[in-house]
Structure formats: C-alpha cells, structure tokens
Symmetry: C3
Subunit: 350 residues, 3 copies
C-alpha cells in the first residue's frame, strides 16, 4: 500500500488492518491526537470539493499533523508555466502525503509517477474516488459487523456515477452479497461492470423501480440523478420522482435498513427521512473521516522514495479527451492490458 489511486490499491488484508485501526481511533481518539505530529499532508484541490477536503483536513489535524495546499481552482493559475510534474516533485518534498482532486481522469496516477510521498486520489474526473469506497465499506461494517450476506441496493445514476462503480467492484471481495441495481434504463450499469459481476459470480438484479426493490434490502445506497444526463429533459421530469426516497416509501423497508449516500444530496432523499433511525448518511460521512485518519496514519509513516521515472512508452496515445495526458503533454504513454494506465480508457478499439 503506497499510492491509493483506486480502491484496488488496498488489498483485503490492508482493508482489514485499516478498518481495525479505524475502530481503535474511534474508541480512543486521545491516543492518536499526536500520532502525526511533525508530519504534513498536502491537499491539492485543482477542483473545489469542500466536503472531501474538510474530511481529509480534519483527519490529518486530529492526528496532530499539519496541512498545506489549495482549495481553489484559480490557484492553479498561480503556478502558471509550471508542469504538474514539477509541482508534484516540489510538494512531495515538503509533505508526507498528497491528497489530490483534479478534473482530469488519471491525474492522481500521473502525480504518483513523480511524487516521493504517497498520493491519495480524492477524485480524478469521473474516474476513481477510492476513499469514498473506503468510507462506504467502513460505515456498513461499523453498523452491521460486515458485508457478508448483505442485500445491497444501489439506486440512481449507475451509468456515470463513479462512487457506484468503485463500490460494486469492492463488493466483489465479500461473500454472498446480493446487488439490486436500481436505475432508469438510460442510466443502467455499464456493460463492463455487468461482465465483471458475471465473472465474479456476483448475484445481481437490475430493476427500474425503487419501491419494488426496497423491501428486500439491508443497505440502500442512494445517488443523485443529474438532469444533464438525459437527452430529453421531459424524460428526467417524468422519472425523477421514482428515484426519490421519502418517509412514505420507507414504510416498505426493513426495520434495520441502512440508508447511505455519498453526499451532498440534493433532493433524492427527502428531508423527512433524516429523522428516521435508518438514515445513516451523516454517520457514514463521519465514519469517512475516521477511516481517512487510519489511512493517513499508515501512509504518512512510509519512508520517502524517489520514483524511478524510467518508463517504456508504448507509443499508443490515449484517445480519451478527458485524460490527463491531454493536459500534461510530457507524460509517458503507458498501457496495461490494452488500457491507458492513467484513465483506463481502452486503447484497442477505434
């Protein structure tokens, strides 16, 4: 465990260790109040994200560590003329861990090529956001003791939602999980994920109706549906009510259901749900802070390493216009299993 670009960078054993550490921090926070004294986390937010940024900053400071960074995209103009490579070499010289959010897919991977300290991906375009998945699993485990045997409903935009893809992939690690994928047809799970679930022999059902699925769920993971995803706005208006959770609909659910949401919610969970003891999305956010404390505690203690920077380029350019290789043009073109190493875009097809 060094750079955390996707949740896959945390092995099952490491996850178990992190989760154990998370529980211990929650139980005895005073014992950890100086654990990172003298260490520094850099929070480089090339795109604003108050929530994720606050969570990481609070986490590092609860460990007694310091924080440098920027939270405002306009700051990037301040480093005008400098490549992200130089920024990363410099900042990693000052820091023990870099938390990074960037609008381009693959940005955190690119940063990791040059950083002498661990890079944590806090969102790279619509690509990965591994500490959200860490948060999700930690919250469920904390509330239920584990994932095994759970019936998990995931509702909303399953086509574009990055937190959802990462969560589905992560759930493959646990035994006997049943997935209920609840979305409009236009926003159903992408094919590669369906293939993935079949290969892993995961039990999953794709449905279009939240109310129909609700009664059988142990966990309901709500996400937002954005109007922009629909070609026809009328279609959005017609459908959106179906995917809104209300106190009334909740009467159909189990008494010990867990309702989760990556937040911020807009109107997909009605405020009349907040008072229900099954509403756990704020508990989930708080758990995320403790899970990030565990992660930072482990990563900022790692020795600094100078990256090798000796890459064999493939010569195949990535064709994804949202890929970081389009913005930072000195990056080596790297490929693995026919996919761009940065953004995972397939390099095979045309």
């Amino acid at each position: 465990m060094r750079h955390i670009i996707s949740f896959e960078d945390i092995s099952p054993d490491e996850w178990a260790r992190l989760y154990g550490l998370t529980l211990d921090i929650i139980a005895r926070p005073g014992d950890y109040a100086r654990s990172c004294a003298g260490r520094v986390m850099a929070a480089l937010f090339y795109e604003p994200s108050t929530r994720t940024n606050f969570s990481f900053q609070a986490a590092m400071q609860r460990l007694g560590g310091g924080v440098i960074g920027f939270s405002d995209p306009s700051v990037t103009s301040a480093s005008k003329g400098e490549t992200m490579r130089d920024t990363m070499i410099m900042v990693s010289g000052y820091s023990d861990s870099i938390v990074m959010r960037h609008p381009c897919a693959g940005a955190a991977k690119a940063a990791s090529l040059y950083s002498s300290c661990p890079v944590i991906n806090a969102g790279d375009g619509g690509h990965f956001h591994p500490t959200q998945t860490l948060t999700d699993l930690a919250a469920i485990t904390r509330l239920r003791g584990g994932l095994r045997g759970m019936s998990v409903g995931i509702c909303g935009d399953l086509k574009y939602g990055r937190t959802v893809h990462s969560l589905i992939t992560a759930l493959a690690r646990f035994e006997d999980v049943t997935l209920h994928l609840i979305s409009p047809r236009q926003l159903a799970c992408p094919k590669y994920l369906r293939v993935f679930m079949q290969q892993r022999k995961m039990r999953f059902y794709e449905v279009t109706n939240l109310e129909a699925a609700l009664g059988s769920l142990d966990v309901l993971y709500m996400t937002r549906i954005q109007r922009e995803r629909f070609d026809d706005p009328k279609e959005y208006d017609r459908l959106k009510g179906v995917y809104v959770l209300t106190a009334r609909k909740l009467s159909l659910a189990k008494g010990d259901l867990l309702i989760l949401h990556p937040l911020p919610r807009v109107d997909e969970i009605n405020p009349d749900v907040d008072g229900d003891p099954r509403a756990k999305y704020f508990f989930q956010a708080e758990t995320g802070m403790y899970a990030r404390m565990a992660l930072l505690l482990e990563l900022t203690a790692l020795p600094k390493l100078t990256p090798e920077r000796d890459y064999t380029e493939t010569g195949r350019l990535c064709r994804n216009p949202g890929c970081i290789t389009f913005r930072e043009d000195y990056l080596p073109f790297l490929e693995e299993n026919g996919r761009c190493v940065y953004c995972d875009y397939s390099l095979k097809g045309d």
Copy 2:
C-alpha cells in the same frame, strides 16, 4: 453554555470562569499549548472577516488544535445545491466547534438547530457578535480589575452598531456603571435599548458632543460612523469631525482613560492617538484572542449531542427580509415572546 449565539448565552458565572481562564492562559501559555490537541474547530465565514477569522484561528492553534473551513464567500457556491442544514450536520460531524459568520441575521441560531457540536456566532448580519463583547469586557477587566463603578462612553453609530448594542446589554450585569451615549441624533440608541436600560435602572446620558463628555469617562468606546447611514451626505460631512478622536481632544480626558475600538478603525481615531498610553484598542484585540482561547477550550471539550430537531412551529412567518429564514426555507418558524427566534424581529406588529 453550549451554543454562543448572543452574549446572553454566557451566564455571569460562566463569564467569571472564562475570564479567570483567560488570565491563566495569558500568564502561562505554555501550559495550554496542547490542550486542544486532536480537536478541530471549523471556521465557516460566509462573509469575509480577516480579523475575526485570524483571531479564532490563532486561538485554536495556540491550544494545539486544528482548523478547517473557508474564508471566502465564493466558496459557498462550491456547496451549491446543499442546504445549510446538511452542511452543518456534516461539518459538525468533523469538528468540535463551529465558528460562523454569515450575512443573514439568525444564521448562527439556525446552524445550532442542526449542529452536533457547539456553534459560536462570529457575526450574523447586523445582529449579534458575542465574542466581541467578550473581548471588550475582558480588556476592560484586565486593565481596571472590573467594570463596577465605571463611567463608560460609547461614541459613534449607536443605532446600527451591533457591537454597541451587545455591549450595552452586557454592561447591565455590572453594578454602578454610568453610560454616556455619544452620537448624532440620527444615529442615537434605538428605543428598545433605551427601554432596556430604564428597566434595568442603568444610569445613562445621551449626548451629541464627544468633547463635552470626554472629561468624565473612564472608558471611551469608539465606533465607526458610515456615510451610508445618512440620507444627506452633506450632513455626514458636517458631523463626522465631531466624532473623531484626536490627540488634541484627548487633552480633555482623564489620565487613566481607556480608549477602545472593535477595529478596524478607518479615521474615527486619528493615528496621532496611537502613541498615547491610553490607546488600548490593539491591546483589546490581543486580549480578544486569549478570551477566545478560553471559550474554545471550554466548548470543544463538551460531548457531542445530536440535536432533537423536534420543533413546534408557530406558523407565523418572519417579515425581516434579512432573516436567515428567507434564504433557508426549510427552517421551522419559531417564536419566543412574540419575536422571531432567529433574528429577534418582532412578529406582533405589522
């Protein structure tokens, strides 16, 4: 003592304890350098205020604690689509205290309905700013040993100045205080305060001339007069010199006068006063930081509580367009003694 919305939220006993703690922190700062280790203060400035923000941030860090937050109103757009309620539940999950400034009256009160940690009002529109009053009383007490028997002049805009209203109310707690309220007639003390002073049997004089009052004062509290407060700008130009303190005018004052100002001053105190040993406004600002340390030390140690959120609404809408209920429309309409619980606006008359 939990949420500090107005200075009234600090009882006389709590004030005495806070002041004692303030003195001890000043005397032995090293003993407190780790008192808040592992704790986090959120500084949510929906309206910029470098001075108050710096004072709180320095205070928390001198206690060894951490700070998250934003200081830039544009950041609020980053949380676009999210209600203040959700922001407060989330941020209070990450923090041990929330310091909040907002352009709307009642914003801190509204935040306190949803926060699981103490909320400190650092200014809500033209309404309350309790830690300024804390600062003022601490500075006078530090310099004079107490307020009892003091002759206190308050000069400037007594109609709109929020720090002034809070100070006058707080002075009612002390015995034998004489008030000299010095202002142009247009900016005299509002009626409700005059009624308050009469009910409390406070001795007060309303005058329009600073020089005439100066000789009898133990404390002179200067505030700014803003040109915008006058219907006729010429009236402003004619009057403003009367309410400017200069070294020349100071010759009329007692040798042990205390000159205070909430800062920033613009030109209501001439710089030629700065060198006078009676000028205590910078001492006052510094004292404010120590008083805030005492407050944070007490509040961040309180256990987290989930607010009840079970309110009986009155149905009566607040008619003050500057009230937070206009911006955050899910807020319950609450009333106490015929006044809006958020902004204190009278709900009786029309």
Copy 3:
C-alpha cells in the same frame, strides 16, 4: 537577529548557527515535531506564491506550530480601508512571526516598523527575498561541506533577478569564491553589484556563453530569462536557446557539478536534465524548507517587543514609484547613507 528583511540581517555567526540547526533538524526531525507547539506564524501573501508559502507553512507545521494568513491578493480588499500599519499591529498581536510577500519594494521593512513580532521578508517586489539565499547557501553547504574555493556560475537574467543579487552579495562572505556571471549583455549584472564585487575583491568573470563557462564550474545557478525584459522580442527568440541547460550541454560539465534553480523553472532547464544526478534543484527546494524551520524556531522564540515608532524623518521623499511609501502614505520618510530605508533607492541623484 530579529526582522529578516535582507540576508544581511543574518550575521555570519547566525548563519553558522542556523545551518547547524538545519542539519540537526534534518537528522532528527522527530525531536523538533513539537518545538513550536502553541506558537503561530502569520503568512501574509499580498501577492500569490504557492511555492514559498507552502515551504513556510510546511516548515512551521513540522515544528508543531500553527499558521494563520491569506494567500490570495483579493483578500487585501477585505481589509479595505485599513492601513498596513494597523494590520501589522493587529496580526503581530496574534502571532509569533510574520512571513510577508508584497508587490512593493520595502513593504517588509515598513511592516517591521509596526510589528511586535519578527517579520520575515518573503519577497518585496523585485527587491529582497532573503530566505531564498538562505536556501541556496544551505543546499550548497549540505552538498559540498561549504562554499570556500567554489567556482559558481550564475546564468540568466542578472540585471533584474532579485535572487541573484542577494546570492552574489552573500557569496562575498566566503573565501576564495570565483563567480562566472553568464547572461546576455542586455541583462548583465548592474553596476552597483560590479562595484561591490570589486570592493570586496571578489574574483568574477562576465561572459555571454553558458557552454564556454560550463566546464569550470562547481555550481551552476540557473535563472529564468523573461521575454518582457527585451525591447525587441526577436532578440529574445535569438538568444534564449543559449541560456537553456540541456543533457547534451551537461556533457561539458564536471562530474560533480551542482545544478541549482530557485524554481519554478519554465524551460531554462530541459526536463532531460532532471534524471542527471547533478540536478539538485528539487533537493535545494526541500533543503529550503528545513532552513526555514531553523529560522522559525529561532525567531518565534524571541520575546515580543513593542516597536518604538519614534522616527526622525528626513523630509526627502523616495522617488521610486514601486516603493511602499507610495502606497502607504503615512510611513515616515527615512534615509540611510543617502538611500531610502525601505526600497534602497538612491535619494541623492536627481
């Protein structure tokens, strides 16, 4: 050692002590992780500088101290109406050290007149940037054991480059240093520096060709040449390649050359140099953070002092339009050896 306005404010003995402390911090960082607990550094950046700001903030936090401040020039408008004098009195009341960058020459000197804690100049217009020189000397000493007997090439804009002027002045302190000043004729070293080097009997050569000088150097200090410095842009295009360091040119250099750069580099050092073991500019930046830790450790421990503010004005106005006295018009006009005390501009000539 109190205010650090120019590198001259650090005596040779103090430099030796700071460097020894720097080495100790690098060797045993854990021993210093709480050295500044309870202390606060203010970082007042009236002009953005991510790099310098990060370096100072990381330094203070690695010592367990806190940071307040702003990094965005727009924040200055927040303190609109307040003089820099009042800001400095207030902020120094909250802080144990003020780090300040400002677009006007002499701004840090002006701040030091009013600050009750040490002021560190982090760049005042094109004037001084003493901690860059501290960084440069610390990096060379760390890599070579000292400066004595070194052949130092300085390449680029020697006319306007502030880091270069400060470095040349500082090198006069060391015995047997040979300078190779490499620049286009238009951007040669200013006359006053040439006079300075002659008075100090420094050995120096002025040349226009990097390749010709490269073979004899122990240290090569690269700086950027800005297009705007040339009257004729074509002249810039014709010349710029001469002052770009590439892997090919490096083949002419000694095997143990040190390549330094104040960063950010734009294209004056080709990225193909980065992999060369002689490339030490990132090592230099990291060393700068440790040197700043040593400086902050010493300065934040000094007792607070109220400045005297009793100045005898000369009556001679500074005529440098970039001088801070133009922006902050209450500043006393002060002169030393016929030069403006703030910006060093000669007051003699006409």
